[in-house]
Symmetry: D3
Subunit: 143 residues, 6 copies
């Protein structure tokens, strides 16, 4: 009976969570404006210190205003980068999660197709540049 992917450690439920885990869960729900904590964070919660560390970094990078930082990248651009990385790495959970985030930000299937066209193109050219070991072009020095 082949089954789908099941996390190798059981996620920590929201109900009954205490201490550091409960605090991070609450911050995730508030910062993201969602009702349920995604599986990703509930699995990380099996090591509360690591949960806190990863959430702190993701909050700083992806929700800079909530973290008291400023950013010149648009939220949709950040999610596009996330999807490009996840598609390149072939990460199932991440592709699902970031595609959902892009849909929430209004991206339709046609625009998603444009994003994927660029992702696919450069996975292709990367293999060519590496497969021929092409040497970098001489560039003007960075200022």
């Amino acid at each position: 009976m082949p089954a789908g992917r099941v996390a190798t450690v059981p996620p920590v439920p929201e109900q009954g969570a205490t201490g550091k885990v409960a605090e991070v869960y609450e911050d995730i729900r508030r910062t993201k404006g969602i009702d349920a904590v995604p599986n990703f964070w509930r699995v990380l919660a099996t090591n509360p210190d690591h949960l806190e560390l990863v959430w702190g970094r993701l909050k700083a990078v992806m929700h800079p205003e909530a973290a008291g930082r400023s950013s010149k990248l648009a939220p949709v651009t950040r999610e596009i980068i996330a999807l490009a990385v996840s598609a390149t790495n072939g990460c199932a959970y991440c592709v699902n999660s970031h595609t959902a985030a892009l849909r929430k930000l209004g991206m339709d299937a046609e625009l998603l197709g444009e994003v994927m066209a660029v992702v696919a193109l450069f996975n292709s050219t990367n293999a060519l540049a590496d497969g021929y070991q092409i040497e970098p072009d001489v560039l003007p020095p960075a200022e």
Copy 2:
């Protein structure tokens, strides 16, 4: 005497190029507004059919207006995706090339740092989601 990366096949020089290669070279220079054909294309030119095929696709995706297409992605977003893919794959030639393209489009080192922060973050979370085999969240069905 350890040396840098040298292409496994010698690039086809611009001077003396004929036929299909000369045509593609000319189209590359005109479409990109550059004086010299980058090493990438000059190495691909060792198989003229493949040069034509890859250039045709890159032109359609990255220079849609020149290819008679329309696109809703901004050029800078396309180059950001290219860099995100290339950094994830660790492709030296490609990282150099797309960073140079982003500098030409006005991106400074601080904004590049924001892009790289997102790229790095999701290479990290990809490893976590895969390393724990976290199962996708149940999402509302795509319309």
Copy 3:
């Protein structure tokens, strides 16, 4: 209830397809000699321009005679390369698809085992060469 992989965008059905999508679908069925368009193409069809672009390239590379090109690589060699790349990238859809193609071309499980032995060996040596940062051997110059 963990489920298998489900595409993040719904595939475009063959029935009712019109315009560019219908044309590409028909060309895929005719060129490949199959009755049903695989999921891969039906998902790409959510962006008809991209569908056309990817199919055009795959047709040129994998069905050169149908695309009016010539090739010195045997079809079975091309599918072996496809499987080697897909196994290295860990792409589930692609491994299934290219293994099925090789079975159709007559490859049995024992010969598949030989292919996989080579794929596995070089994923191993790649890690060693990169993990020790071994410098390339000095080679006679390419002519």
Copy 4:
């Protein structure tokens, strides 16, 4: 009906196995102290020579004492490396298998979290070092 992952070739059952396959199966059960041969080996058995080759190498590296070798790496360290590689490659079967091995060796979810924190951190810094093409620090020469 989307299903989970199913091997592209049917595994060779333990019952009825003969010759080289039966011998390797028996050695796997004895060396690992398990009752059933894992799917990995039963799929490799479709090419008995390859089964023997891969098992011989894994036995030498992971069960050195059984192979008449000595090793200075602790078994738990070897399994941690296996998990780090598998998480980085996103290999589902391997992540499941090596996490199970670590649990058998007594690793709990909190310590697993520490391992994954290191794995995730360096997938992140790898992307940064490659994404900026940072040149190696000058090191004292290896003795």
Copy 5:
């Protein structure tokens, strides 16, 4: 004149560094007990916020005692994981850096060979498990 890898942005020198960058540089030197800040950090310093974020995470994970945390993983195990990830990703800078760290911790070439043997083995088996799409063994449920 092919040259080695050169960072796409110029590193920020230690001399003359101010504010957040100077503080992080000082913390890196003190925490790691080194005289010069490695190139990695000097390149990240082109975006001081990102420098601070990455250093904060690396300090927490790799120097837990300095960060006021506790850890059950030995420092040498953490560096072994770092090398395993870096070899798998083929990250040149990182392989150099973590091999140097392991040498400082007393690892000789023979033991390094044992580590690399495990890294290489599992890059090989990962390709096999993914290349055959082997389904996970049924495991006893995680407690």
Copy 6:
């Protein structure tokens, strides 16, 4: 002074090699019909057991007749797989080595271009299949 890639451990010279290392070196030269042992093997020789293990496997897979085995894969097909894997992984040493092997087997730049076209195409489609999480087509059951 940025330099090229230098192995993290010094290769073991052929002159003065003794015991197991000398034996494997001699077998490499004889089996491959070459005068000098490539850097790859001279670096592995820092752990003689590992040298023996990796050479034994490579000999069995890539030089089956010398190892007393038979194979239905042509030598050029095996080297093509090696190059496809190495290009996909972006392994510099390996790309150089396997391209040189293919040149020795008579492959010219045009045919190499065909190989690279297939490699590049499927790195592209892999990213699409993973990036959309396309579910496998229902296939007829393997016999």
